[in-house]
Symmetry: C2
């Protein structure tokens, strides 16, 4: 599992929903720049952060993980 896979998935999901990093950050109550760090693969989320992000994206946390798995192939 490459370190930046999650970030790419996150960015894709965010853009599919036409959200800015700023707006997403607001929705999940995280810092804008932290979203940026995640998308660039400079941070790996904890499970708790994954759940927050999934909630903001209105998706099941497991669905987010599925997308990461698919990218692993």
């Amino acid at each position: 599992m490459k370190a930046d896979l999650f970030g790419k998935v996150l960015q894709e999901m965010r853009k599919e929903r036409h959200l800015s990093q700023e707006k997403l950050a607001e929705l999940c109550e995280l810092d804008r720049t932290y979203i940026s760090l995640l998308e660039r693969g400079l941070r790996q989320p904890t499970l708790a952060t994954l759940f927050k992000l999934a909630a903001a994206l209105e998706i099941n946390p497991s669905e987010l993980v599925v997308r990461v798995e698919q990218k692993s192939d």
Copy 2:
């Protein structure tokens, strides 16, 4: 999402496979005491750790998360 849900799922999955904490730790190259901390809900895994654990349990990472989601209900 309660803090100890993941730990319970992890312990269930481990026991289903008749693995000791020590053996699981060896399989995923994590510390023996850390598995214990996870199962007791005193630590939350990062995404990378989730993938390691899932690999050792021979399950998809997303399946692990699904189990956590189910417990949330």
